[in-house]
């Protein structure tokens, strides 16, 4: 996930720290030293992550937009200038804007705030911001919580005692709370020196930037993989199942199906070597066959592997994580019920690969797939009545369609307790019967009066005629032999 480094470049950062017997350092130098360490770590272990650098004082400035080029980031860090006072709220708003413009609001981001813990005085200070947080109007809301999923790490170039002496620590803690508790405050232990700043950033790296190594396993074929971005633990239902689900590092490739969807990425790490790697084999075959492989990430958590190519025809193995659960994609059914096709009595893919057992059809069709009757709007009802009348005029050719529509209306009217409609349609049919032209087929008259009579009987509510499952069937007449051949 992308990182924004928000670096305090206010004047207080130039305060010297006393180091015995060596040259004098400013807090800023310590901050730069720590960040250099972070950037070096990312350049080696997190090559694919995007990082941007924002410096702030009373104003804020985007020094490096999101980039994978850690040299540029390092350079900007080295050329940092000093400005005036600390004004955190505006800077956080800036971070929020920068992230949203680049990644939208669904991409999780890490924000690393590096500061000396002197959070300003008076208007624009963090203390002032927090005091007024509840009195904001809509367009001047405090930027936290960020609208995107985020972690806020505060790296203090100060030790805890120093921060606790003022209300700085309280204010920073309040900041983390405002972000939904997502984040952490790091302080320096012991004297302010290069060593302690290293140890502080080391902790951050362990916590937030440890590379995700895993083993991809397909039976006895295995491959070590690194996953970018790192899959984070997920909590689905904090009430019933409050423990966050984490991706197990032993990925079990289970088998293959054929589907579509996505979220995250895998790529093999860059250990040089010419020895064969299972990932490359798998990727090649998935690409050639146009298949995806299911991968199990933990109990009841699955994902899929597939080959993804970019516009430059460079392709790599991608892993998409499904929502944790036993049935993440309804059209695949319950994951635990997917078994080897060779166990099936008959090859579900067909002998010539012409079939597929997927997608699984739901037990009940959705309303839009089953021709339901809805008369909420008058037009719905009118259309249904007209359909019957239209077919009535074309009897006996349309006998089947006529009865089909008639029965659909009858069923709905019975369910809705709308007997008045049945009587009314019966009358319409009787009138239609009287209006038949002389040229009309004699069967037409028989069918119309039969249908009208049956509707009237149904409208009486008499259980003999008003049974829901029962249908009105065409009257058998001497003529209907010829009329029965029409299409439905």
């Amino acid at each position: 996930m992308p990182t924004v480094v928000l670096l305090d470049s206010s004047l207080s950062m130039t305060r010297p720290v006393s180091v015995e017997g060596s040259e004098e350092f400013q807090r800023k130098n310590l901050a730069v030293h720590g960040l250099t360490m972070l950037f070096e770590h990312m350049a080696t272990n997190y090559r694919l992550e995007f990082t941007s650098l924002v410096a702030f004082s009373s104003l804020w400035e985007l020094l490096v937009p999101f980039s994978r080029d850690y040299n540029t980031l390092q350079e900007a860090l080295n050329n940092l200038e000093d400005y005036d006072k600390t004004c955190l709220e505006a800077a956080l708003q800036g971070v929020s804007n920068v992230v949203q413009q680049e990644w939208g609001t669904s991409c999780p981001c890490q924000v690393v705030l590096v500061t000396d813990g002197a959070l300003g005085i008076g208007r624009g200070s963090l203390r002032h911001s927090l005091q007024t947080v509840k009195q904001r109007v809509d367009d001047k809301k405090f930027p936290l919580p960020f609208p995107f999923p985020s972690k806020l790490y505060v790296m203090c170039i100060a030790n805890a005692e120093e921060l606790q002496a003022t209300d700085s620590m309280d204010n920073l803690e309040q900041l983390i709370n405002l972000n939904g508790g997502e984040g952490q405050i790091y302080t320096m232990e012991g004297p302010l020196c290069l060593k302690s700043v290293q140890s502080m950033f080391g902790k951050l790296i362990d916590q937030a930037y440890s590379p995700f190594h895993a083993v991809l396993r397909c039976g006895n074929l295995t491959s070590d993989v690194q996953v970018f971005p790192r899959p984070e633990p997920v909590t689905i239902d904090e009430e019933v199942d409050p423990i966050p689900k984490t991706v197990q590092t032993e990925g079990d490739e289970i088998g293959t199906g054929a589907t579509d969807d996505t979220e995250e990425e895998t790529s093999t790490n860059q250990m040089a070597g010419k020895s064969p790697n299972f990932c490359v084999l798998l990727h090649g075959s998935l690409k050639v066959e146009g298949m995806v492989a299911l991968v199990q990430l933990g109990p009841d958590w699955f994902g899929m592997l597939y080959s993804q190519a970019d516009s430059k025809k460079k392709s790599n193995l991608m892993m998409s994580l499904f929502d944790p659960g036993s049935e993440p994609l309804p059209w695949l059914g319950r994951m635990s019920q997917l078994g080897p096709a060779s166990d099936a009595a008959e090859n579900p893919y067909g002998e010539d690969d012409s079939k597929s057992p997927f997608p699984i059809q739901p037990k009940h069709k959705r309303s839009y797939a089953q021709n339901v009757t809805v008369w909420i709007k008058a037009s719905g009802l009118q259309t249904d009545v007209q359909k019957i009348l239209r077919n009535a005029k074309k009897l006996p050719e349309k006998t089947q369609t006529f009865y089909k529509e008639l029965n659909r209306l009858r069923k709905a009217a019975l369910a809705f307790g709308f007997w008045e409609l049945l009587k009314s349609v019966a009358e319409l049919l009787e009138r239609e019967c009287t209006l038949l032209p002389d040229s009309a087929h004699p069967d037409a008259a028989f069918q119309l009066s039969h249908a009208a009579q049956q509707l009237k009987l149904a409208s009486s509510g008499d259980s003999k005629y008003a049974a829901f499952e029962q249908n009105i069937t065409p009257m058998l007449t001497d003529f209907s032999g010829g009329g029965g051949a029409d299409r439905i």
């Binding site: 609001t105 019975l414 049974a467």
Partner: protein, 708 residues
């Protein structure tokens, strides 16, 4: 939404008392067609729905939308109340569909206006609804059984939607009091039962329906907490379309739904029946879905920018998205971040059914955010899977996945001879298919576990690159290779495997060339007979990996072990004069005499009697992967075994004494260098003065090295 939130259980209580038979006074003209055509015919009087009909069709619409968007885990219990209670379905998932409810409603029929109003009341239904909310659903049961000691995390909450015609505000209060009282009563009862759960939270939604043109006797009231368990709200609505609108808003509120209107849908229209003139017009279709599909708009605050409009009810908002000419581009799919089921608001209108049928036929529609500026942003896609339509959310901003490195830059990326096609075949053999819930095999393994076992079996010996294998490059081996990985073999399968082996023997006799890779080795690569030895070793490795599966697998290995010892005469003739092969002759001579028994020694070996043999075996397996240097090491175990087993002793089943003697002999043999003569002996008979026949003594020397 948490699974056991208030929305898990919805009890509908519909009043079936005589007053519900009253007309809604909303008139519907259904005699339309004739009016325009034949003059002189008096049109029929319009029809009007009763309050009951209005209540039923609106509640059915609520259920239809609910079931479309949540086919499982959101349950409805439908109750009709008059002088008694009619419970039309249960919490069971199998009862959750509108067809079943419609059938049951037809059986109830409209209210009987002649029934004695004194003994009819909606109260019976409300009491039944509370009782029903206490009943445990299959999901609650399942969760409680799986959670065991933390079973108390499974909550019991629910909602009662009561459609009635109340007399007054006092009447409403009486209904609320009754529900509250019943909950207290029932909770006491439920505490002592296994199949019942006390209600922790209940939302009562009272909808008072009154005919059009009348003044309402009941006032609207916002949600109010009546107790820690019960909250109640009152909606006073005119029958007809107002009621439909109200329930549509309620279903959205209750189930976290949001609305999207697809605009600019091109649709061919037939103006009238007779005209057949096809013209195209643009239509709008409104869809409901989970509101998370709009999360990006909501969070970024530009819900309005996305074309959201407030509509008549004031409560309802819809986001307008524009239809884009259909095209399927798989790249778009890769940035899909979620898929949500939809339900059309106006399900059987022509524009709706045109859109849904288009999607159900397997087409997809991309949706664009209408923006004032020129740039076009595709934010959603409609597509169906297995007869269900989903609104897919596409990432419309920059992706962190952009510009990934090519896989060829990574580990193993420079290797060029992966068995891509073979692995494709392997994947097809291991494809998954759904099995019915009940299907568990003898070992109680779920289908997915069986799939993993199958993968394990199929990959026991699976070289990844072409130059690592000989047998998988040979068409002749395919029948055996396909069968040996199976869990069980039939006698017929064994026969097929044996035929494969005989076929290979035949090839060897004819000295057919083998597809051995020459990559990495100098010159022409190994000679023909060495090639065959590599092949046989590899085949043995493959079969050995499966030998533990069944006795029949063992028989295949036995067959190979027996057959790979070659008939010596012609071999010998061919090899005469070739110095390098001399040691081979020794083997073959041995082989000739022990041809029948060769396999017994092999199976003995597998029994793991002799540790040293085992070590050698594993050594063997390491080597087989490398085509470059298998020769001398491969010879070693073979010679060693054959030498140390006096052939007469390996006939028939082996006794404990034999095993022990062999072991001692073997141990002793390590302590001294074997006599050159015995080493080269056949049946313990050594040919003297060999060096006179041979041109030099290389073979002896080599053999000495081999047993060192």
């Amino acid at each position: 939404m948490r699974i056991f939130s208030v929305s898990h259980k919805t009890a509908f209580v519909v009043d079936h008392c005589p007053y519900m038979a009253e007309s809604s006074r909303q008139l519907i003209e259904c005699d339309m067609l004739t009016k325009s055509r034949s003059q002189g015919v008096i049109p029929l009087a319009p029809v009007s729905k009763s309050l009951w009909t209005c209540a039923i069709e609106c509640s059915m619409e609520y259920c239809r939308i609910l079931y479309d968007v949540y086919p499982t885990k959101k349950l409805v219990n439908y109750i009709v109340s008059d002088s008694e209670v009619h419970i039309l379905n249960s919490w069971k998932q199998e009862n959750q569909n509108t067809q079943e409810l419609m059938t049951a409603l037809a059986a109830v029929g409209p209210p009987n206006p002649r029934q004695d109003p004194e003994c009819c009341s909606v109260l019976h239904g409300l009491v039944a609804a509370v009782e029903s909310l206490c009943k445990i659903t299959e999901y609650q049961h399942e969760s409680r059984t799986t959670l065991m000691d933390t079973a108390d995390r499974v909550a019991n909450r629910g909602r009662i939607i009561c459609l009635t015609n109340a007399k007054s505000d006092t009447h409403v209060r009486m209904l609320e009091d009754c529900v509250l009282e019943t909950i207290q009563e029932q909770n006491k009862r439920a505490a002592g039962s296994d199949r019942l759960m006390p209600i922790q939270q209940c939302e009562l939604v009272l909808v008072h329906i009154y005919p059009q043109g009348e003044e309402t006797l009941v006032s609207d009231r916002q949600k109010k907490e009546l107790s820690s368990v019960l909250s109640s709200e009152v909606h006073s609505v005119r029958a007809g379309r107002y009621l439909a609108g109200k329930l549509n808003v309620l279903v959205q509120q209750h189930f976290d739904l949001a609305s999207t209107t697809i605009t600019n849908i091109p649709m061919k229209v037939r103006l009238t029946e007779e005209q057949h003139a096809n013209t195209s017009a643009n239509y709008d279709v409104e869809l409901l879905h989970h509101r998370d599909a709009h999360i990006e708009f909501i969070k970024s605050g530009d819900l309005h920018m996305a074309g959201s409009t407030s509509r008549d009810s004031g409560l309802k908002e819809t986001v307008t998205l524009k239809w884009c000419t259909p095209r399927t581009n798989s790249v778009e799919l890769h940035y899909c971040t979620g898929a949500y089921r939809i339900s059309p608001v106006d399900v059987n209108s022509r524009p709706s059914s045109c859109l849904t049928n288009f999607l159900l036929n397997g087409r997809s529609v991309l949706l664009e955010q209408p923006r004032k500026s020129g740039s076009k942003v595709i934010s959603h896609m409609l597509s169906s899977h297995g007869g269900e339509i989903f609104l897919h959310v596409l990432n419309s901003t920059r992706s962190t996945l952009e510009d990934p490195p090519s896989i060829s830059e990574g580990c193993g990326g420079r290797v060029t001879d992966y068995r891509i096609t073979d692995f494709g075949e392997f994947m097809r053999e291991n494809r998954l298919t759904p099995f019915p819930e009940s299907m568990v095999d003898a070992a109680c393994r779920t289908p997915v576990e069986r799939a993993k076992f199958q993968l394990e079996r199929h990959t026991r010996y699976w070289p990844m690159i072409i130059s690592q294998t000989t047998i998988f490059n040979m068409q002749a081996v395919v029948p055996l290779a396909n069968l040996i990985v199976k869990d069980t073999l039939t006698d017929e399968d064994v026969l097929t495997c044996q035929k494969t082996v005989y076929n290979l023997v035949d090839m060897e006799r004819k000295s057919d060339p083998l597809p051995i890779s020459t990559a990495g080795s100098r010159g022409k690569g190994p000679k023909r007979d060495e090639q065959y030895r590599i092949m046989w070793n590899e085949l043995e490795t493959l079969v050995k990996a499966h030998v533990g599966t069944s006795e029949r697998h063992q028989r295949v290995l036995d067959c190979i072990s027996a057959c790979r010892s070659k008939p010596p005469e012609e071999e010998e003739r061919k090899k005469r004069g070739r110095k390098r092969e001399d040691k081979e002759d020794k083997t073959e001579k041995n082989g000739k005499d022990t041809e029948e028994k060769g396999w017994t020694t092999d199976s003995e070996r597998l029994k793991g009697v002799m540790e040293r043999e085992k070590d050698e075996q594993s050594e063997c397996e390491i080597i087989k992967d490398s085509p470059d240097s298998p020769e001398p090491l491969n010879k070693k175990p073979r010679l060693a075994t054959e030498e140390q087993q006096p052939p007469e002793k390996s006939k028939g089943p082996v006794s404990l004494l034999t095993l022990w003697t062999n072991r001692i002999t073997q141990a002793n043999s390590r302590k001294h260098q074997e006599f050159a003569g015995r080493l080269s002996s056949v049946n313990s008979k050594a040919e003297l003065y060999q060096h006179l026949k041979e041109e030099n003594g290389m073979d002896v020397h080599e053999n000495g090295k081999a047993t060192r």
